[in-house]
């Protein structure tokens, strides 16, 4: 029953608005004085298909320009796109609105009631509080009206009474409304199938002159106001319009068309290609390494320095400061730093010197504690492990820097190792470290910061080298294998770049397009 009512109501509403719209156009028609131009020719070859590479709920229209677009009479201003809506959509929409509005009302009541009561109490105590009243009461719209205390009190009492009375009623109304909404939604597919009965064409928007396509993207949540159901027959129409909105080509209709989600995103094939390449490379070389093929890796001065640095620290009887940087545990550079930390901590445990790891991120701290602890275990010195050696400082960049700088000047570490993601603080740390006379080894993939480390540190691992570091220190064949794979990937890249470059040089862009990633 309620549906029928809503339907009637909505119909009346629509009728009225459309009528209003028409009168409007006549009234404010800019060129009504000018000679009426003949309607432009319609678009041709209008096609509608499900939008590719998406999760459904979208349709793409394509057409060939109207003969009067840019050519011919050149009168086309834009193309207006319409979709056929069953009135059931309005029912759904109305219900959806009333659900959310009722919810809002209930919430508003909850907020207002205590405020009103408070204001009332205040006023009763001291009418003078009227000026500082934080709850504004309903006033009659009358310029001469003067707000008096007892008027405000009365108004407040009314409000409170009203809220007390209607609050619960509204709250109880939410559930049935929701059920109606669900029912209405269930009836949608049928309503769409009834085309062209019980529905009408509605404008979705305009495509600028010269354009030959339009994508109608809807919401996937059925409760959303521009929800487009999947696997449902939809009908579209396109009209070429002129300066004078009322002069338009006859409509070209297309349909039925259904939207559906794709399981594979075809636009991303090149990426997939590279992913697969990497998998293959890594797996093969790791296998080779396991079989014991000896893999050469060139020396990295930064890495070799680590051992000497730890030795130095032991001689001087001073600690080693290890910073994991500002990255959180989601950043691969931080994870790379974990494995470096693991190796370093192991050596530290073996040399029986001490390590300090102030952390910027709590999650990182948690992992770092695990890592250091297990390295001590591996070195067979689990009892030397002190948990307070890995601690959380704060995750506010410069507070962290302030604290670490303090540590540097007070603990005087023999060696500072910076590995991971570093931001503006890189130079603040490195310079202070130099001042404290520590040996400094840095490694980051943050391009902007590498220069500062290079300038202020003794050794710096540049970008990719940071990721190789753990493999270097670990010396496990498996990891070295993955390094080899990395290098082969580089070879492929160079080859690709070379071919691509030659391709463009010889004006043969096909190859470059192969690598185009869409969407």
């Amino acid at each position: 029953m309620r549906h029928k009512l809503k339907l009637v109501l909505v119909l009346v509403l629509c009728a009225w608005t459309t009528a209003a719209a028409q009168t409007d156009t006549v009234l404010i028609d800019p060129v009504s004085a000018a000679p009426v131009l003949p309607p432009p020719l319609p678009v041709t070859n209008l096609q509608a298909q499900d939008t590719d590479n998406d999760h459904g709920h979208a349709i793409t229209l394509t057409w060939e320009k109207s003969a009067d677009d840019g050519a011919g009479r050149n009168s086309v201003l834009a193309y207006e796109i319409f979709r056929w809506f069953p009135f059931q959509m309005d029912v759904v929409d109305a219900l959806r609105k009333s659900v959310s509005e009722t919810r809002d009302a209930v919430r508003a009541f909850r907020i207002d009631l205590p405020r009103a009561e408070h204001a009332l109490r205040e006023l009763r105590e001291d009418p003078g509080k009227l000026r500082t009243l934080r709850f504004n009461v309903a006033r009659p719209d009358d310029s001469t009206f003067q707000l008096t205390a007892d008027y405000a009190i009365r108004a407040l009492e009314d409000t409170i009474a009203f809220i007390r009375e209607h609050g619960p009623i509204l709250k109880n109304r939410i559930k049935p409304l929701q059920q109606d909404l669900e029912k209405a939604l269930a009836e949608l597919p049928q309503a769409y199938a009834d085309y062209p009965r019980d529905g009408e064409w509605r404008s979705l928007g305009k495509a600028l002159v010269g354009s030959t396509s339009y994508t109608n993207t809807g919401a996937k949540e059925s409760t959303d106001k521009d929800f487009i159901p999947d696997y449902t027959d939809l009908y579209y129409r396109v009209e070429a319009i002129t300066v004078d909105e009322s002069i338009r080509s006859e409509a070209v209709t297309v349909g039925p068309v259904q939207s559906r989600g794709q399981w594979f995103h075809a636009g991303r094939v090149p990426v997939l290609g590279f992913v697969l390449m990497f998998f293959v490379f890594t797996l093969t070389f790791v296998q080779m390494a396991k079989k014991g093929a000896n893999l050469y890796v060139r020396p990295l001065s930064g890495i070799e320095a680590v051992d000497d640095a730890i030795g130095r620290a032991t001689e001087m009887g001073r600690p080693i400061l290890y910073l994991l940087g500002l990255g959180d545990a989601t950043q691969v550079s931080t994870i790379a730093s974990f494995s470096v930390l693991g190796r370093v901590a192991k050596r530290v445990a073996e040399y029986q010197t001490s390590i300090i790891v102030p952390c910027y991120d709590p999650v990182v701290m948690a992992v770092a504690q695990e890592v250091v602890k297990s390295s001590y275990l591996d070195a067979g010195r689990s009892d030397d492990y002190k948990q307070e050696s890995v601690f959380f400082v704060t995750n506010y960049q410069f507070a962290y820097v302030a604290a670490v700088n303090g540590i540097m000047l007070r603990e005087r570490p023999a060696t500072n190792i910076y590995m991971g993601k570093f931001m503006a603080e890189s130079l603040l740390l490195a310079e202070t470290g130099t001042l404290a006379g520590s040996i400094q080894i840095a490694g980051t993939d943050e391009i902007a910061q590498i220069p500062f480390f290079i300038v202020a540190c003794d050794y710096t691992l540049i970008g990719e080298e940071l990721y190789a570091a753990s493999a270097y220190l670990g010396r496990e064949p498996v990891l070295l294998g993955s390094l080899k794979a990395q290098d082969w990937a580089k070879v492929v890249i160079m080859a690709v770049a070379l071919i691509g470059m030659l391709g463009t040089a010889l004006g043969w862009p096909a190859f470059a397009q192969l690598l185009q990633v869409t969407g």
Binding site: H55, G261, W263, F278, D361, L377, T394, V401, L427, E464
Partner: protein, 225 residues
Amino acid sequence: MRREIPLVITIFVGFLAIVSFFSPPLEGLGEDFTLFFDIIAVFAFFLGGGNLVRIHANKLIKRKTDWVYSIVTLVGFFGMLSAGLFKIGNPGDISTSVTAPGSLFSVLYFNLNLPLGSTMYALLAFYVASASYRAFRAKNREATVLLVAAFVILLGSTPFGTLLTSWIPHPLDILQIPNLAVWIMSSPNLAGQRAIMIGVGLGVVSMSLRLILGIERTYLGDDRG
């Protein structure tokens, strides 16, 4: 067991994340996982806060060096925490933003956090100078290249660059310092940046692979832990 399950989790979600990129219906997944992380991260905040309090309380009790300052830290911490969690002095009710102007939280932020942070950051101006004095010396070929590039760019970002070299005639005007600076930024610099980017990209990819394939598992700690 303590290590296998986490490993399985890593591998599973890792592959899931990759697949979700290629499969539109799963696109939402990446988003949800990221939201998951944020939520976990907030729990971790409390872990971190707890750790902070423990360390400083420890210092305080054991009367270690500078224990006095630990009091400062603790006071600051709990003061800010209560100001933020209970929205002390916030205008309006609980729904107003925690950083709303007028709240104690924002007052503390703007009068302590802000000056402290920006000043710490501003120290860089001095450090940059001392670093360039100490380190920009033509010790070897690489250092010289570094030095020259930096010098040109520095000169280029002052009006003096123009003054000094504006006399250079048209066909050679690439040699005017500002042009040269722009050219360095957009040509060799670009090449270098790109090389590093691709390198880093490679590093990240193969590191991620090592993680997803369970080759790299240092982050998991140790069975005996």
